[in-house]
């Protein structure tokens, strides 16, 4: 029973990461992504999925999906029903699942964040319904598989798992919230293992939406740069296999890192604008560090939300400065959105995987597009590839509507 639940453990268990799946425009899997982030490469190209000739912005960071999905428990027909976002989710989940070494019979809960799910199917449904209203072919399939929980179920079926599915949609904080919720479930004794992450792909509606808000960069995405002019959209998925330390040790699993803190707060300032002083952003960094009993002096790297929009970056810069205090002067900060764009519901999850890469491989991901610091930045922006000693890394994610989240990871040695 979910309620009444078993008594929570007297001491919350430690939560470790034993699998990390990632797909971005850098490619599928840890290696190509680690290489791309470490070098600070950028992946933007003209949008190919739909016509952007009448939009202000023309570029995005698009996935190159493999021609065929790898073999799973899915029948060919089931796999064919996955749209682009579902395919990305399946690929990232597969990597995390295999790395964790979980068995198909393990009914692990699946907690996902997304803002659009299979939005492209919804768009196809709309177009056909409006343009050829008497044509019904494929509409029932679209109506069903458009729903995020159906995509998640299909992905769980692919790996032979039948765990409960939870879908969170807290805008751009969704991926971090999903991982944070998984952390809550494990620490509260509700589960020993949870698969958690986020996924999103670029859709015409969302691209047009950010374009209409004039939030998309028409030049180069440059988070925290004084000349920044907006964000760039990207697509991808990130999935983590999380479990208690005891469970991982019993299985002799390879541990990629430890999730030691999660903060979540709401900022009701505005539907699309952050509080100018970043109050909720400050609160989630405080919470995450408080949960981990870590001070800002012990944090070695911050993967900022850093969208590249004037409003987000200035408020986040103020919040980081306020939270870090004197540590800010030497605290390395960067936004990997400079390389792969803003992945919306996937952003927090993919950036969590980036933090694990940083912790395991001991380098900092640079923003090679960064030139002139915004005066609000009291911290150094990592702008060149560099090795570094990183023991603790913080990842920020802030969403439309005011949900803010922070995840804190520790290196596993």
């Amino acid at each position: 029973m979910i309620f009444p639940a078993n008594s929570p453990p007297p001491t919350p268990p430690r939560v470790v990461v034993t699998g990390a799946g990632i797909i971005t425009a850098f490619g599928l899997g840890w290696k190509p992504n680690a290489e791309g982030f470490r070098a600070g490469r950028t992946t933007f190209r003209p949008v190919s999925r739909f016509d952007v000739s009448r939009h202000r912005a023309k570029m995005a960071s698009e996935l190159d999906l493999p021609a065929a999905l790898p073999p799973t428990h899915l029948r060919a027909r089931q796999a064919a029903r996955l749209d682009r976002a579902g395919a990305a989710l399946l690929l990232a989940t597969g990597e995390a699942w295999r790395q964790a070494g979980w068995e198909p019979a393990d009914n692990v809960p699946f907690v996902l964040g997304t803002t659009g799910g299979a939005m492209s199917l919804g768009e196809d449904y709309f177009r056909q319904a409006v343009q050829t209203p008497l044509q019904h072919r494929r509409q029932p399939t679209r109506a069903l598989h458009y729903q995020a929980q159906v995509q998640a179920r299909t992905v769980m079926d692919a790996f032979g798992s039948a765990g409960p599915i939870t879908i969170l949609s807290n805008a751009c904080a969704s991926g971090s919230n999903a991982i944070g919720h998984a952390w809550d479930l494990i620490r509260g004794g509700h589960a020993e293992c949870v698969l958690a992450g986020g996924y999103d792909t670029v859709s015409e509606l969302v691209f047009s939406g950010f374009d209409s808000l004039q939030a998309l960069s028409t030049t180069v995405c440059r988070p925290f740069d004084a000349q920044r002019d907006g964000l760039a959209l990207g697509e991808g998925a990130g999935v983590l296999a999380l479990e208690t330390l005891d469970h991982a040790r019993r299985r002799d699993a390879l541990i990629l890192g430890e999730l030691i803190g999660y903060g979540v707060a709401s900022d009701g300032h505005h539907l699309t604008q952050p509080h100018p002083e970043g109050n909720a952003a400050w609160a989630v960094m405080q919470q995450a560090c408080g949960a981990a009993r870590v001070t800002p002096e012990e944090v070695d790297y911050v993967n900022a939300h850093g969208t590249g929009t004037p409003l987000n970056d200035s408020s986040e810069a103020l919040a980081i400065g306020r939270w870090a205090g004197p540590r800010a002067a030497t605290l390395p900060v960067s936004s990997t959105k400079a390389g792969i764009g803003h992945l919306l519901g996937a952003a927090g999850a993919v950036e969590a995987v980036v933090c694990l890469m940083v912790l395991r491989e001991q380098w900092l991901p640079p923003e090679t597009t960064f030139r002139t610091p915004d005066p609000a930045c009291r911290f150094p922006i990592v702008s060149q590839p560099q090795d570094a000693r990183v023991n603790i890394a913080l990842s920020n994610s802030f969403g439309f509507g005011g949900v803010n989240a922070a995840l804190l990871f520790r290196r596993w040695t």
Binding site: I2, V130, A143, Q147, V150, A162, G402, V403
Partner: protein, 360 residues
């Protein structure tokens, strides 16, 4: 204060029956399906069928708030239900320093999504920037939270109707861990011809509906409306290994046999094929039964919320000792919840035949 006990301090509803719980209750007690309205479908001669939320008799005061003035109907429904559910606690003006808000959606903000996408397809250069933010799933939760001053946690949960009970479970966890002092859990949907069209493609006989339902959860017995949460079953997902029928049966077994004096609030509607797994799981139920979907129509996430609101409302009035809510979602999972009446002073008991008016 008992940390392991959770109470319902209030309920709220917006439905085709009207803008409060009383209207929902009245319609369910009458047991007659509400009138079906034609919903024009562009490009078709024949209209789709719907049961729509009527205009409110009086303009709700919260519509004066700048955050919700331009918001879509789903936000208005969610806000109205949330405010009604929270009214007793807010009136008490003590003990609630930190609120949690959880909004559960299946279809979400479809009206503004369709309007914005239509504009974007015609000419993206003139698509309204005011519309786009309202298309985001998290918009209703953000707006509802803005109506409160001390909201610290806000989540939006997606899924089929069963996700409403996941939202309740999440609220319980927040309360149990003392992260919030009270939590509003809302299930809401709004109508649009495209949604009715999609439902028509999946279930020809279903009648689309819309609205919202909300429960206000708290830890303090003294704040209870006379309803205590007794159990939430595990979520029983549908998978290659577990059919929808099997999941419904397992959920039923976890909820227990119940007694003839308990209420069952089920999710049965007018779609024999879709209803079959749930109907089979509860075939032997001998007690009184309410089926809000038969009266209100297919309200997706709102349906599960109405089921819970109806169950809690009946308990709050002392008409039953216990009420079971069965949610066998369309494509995700089956999950059930059991509420009990928690006011030992009450001697009123429900006369079973009244509730059987809309029994199958």
């Amino acid at each position: 204060m008992d940390l392991s006990r959770i109470f319902v301090s209030g309920m709220g509803a917006v439905s085709p029956a009207g803008w409060n719980v009383a209207a929902l209750r009245l319609a369910l007690e009458q047991g007659t399906p509400l009138p079906i309205q034609p919903l024009p479908r562009p490009g078709w001669e024949k209209s789709l069928r719907a049961r729509l939320v009527p205009q409110p008799l009086h303009r709700p005061a919260f519509l004066a708030h700048p955050r919700v003035r331009r918001a879509s109907p789903i936000t208005h429904y969610a806000a109205s239900a949330a405010l009604e559910a929270a009214a007793p606690l807010r009136a008490a003006q003590e003990g609630v320093r930190r609120w949690g808000v959880i909004v559960c959606l299946q279809s979400g903000c479809i009206q503004y999504s369709c309007r914005f996408f239509d504009e974007a397809l015609k000419d993206p250069a003139t698509a309204s920037p005011l519309l786009f933010p309202e298309t985001v799933y998290g918009a209703p939760a953000s707006h509802v939270a803005a109506l409160w001053e001390n909201v610290c946690l806000v989540y939006t949960v997606l899924g089929d109707s069963s996700a409403f009970l996941q939202g309740v479970a999440m609220g319980v966890q927040w309360l149990d861990e003392h992260r919030v002092d009270a939590c509003i859990v809302i299930g809401a949907e709004e109508n649009h011809w495209l949604l009715a069209d999609a439902l028509w493609h999946l279930e020809h006989s279903a009648v689309i509906s819309n609205g919202a339902g909300a429960l206000c959860l708290c830890r303090e017995p003294k704040r209870s409306a006379g309803v205590e949460l007794a159990a939430i079953t595990d979520a029983h997902p549908y998978s290659a290994r577990q059919s929808r029928s099997q999941a419904a049966q397992t959920m039923r077994r976890q909820l227990g046999a119940g007694s003839a004096l308990e209420l069952l609030c089920d999710g049965l509607g007018d779609s024999p094929r879709a209803d079959a797994p749930e109907a089979a799981a509860w075939r032997d139920w001998a007690g009184p039964r309410l089926s809000p979907k038969r009266i209100m129509g297919e309200g997706l996430m709102a349906t599960a919320a109405w089921q819970c609101v109806a169950a809690c409302e009946a308990l709050a009035r002392g008409r039953f000792q216990a009420a079971n809510v069965s949610v066998v979602g369309a494509n995700q999972q089956a999950i059930g919840v059991r509420f009990i009446h928690n006011d030992p002073a009450s001697t009123q008991r429900f006369a079973a035949p009244d509730a059987q008016q809309n029994s199958p």
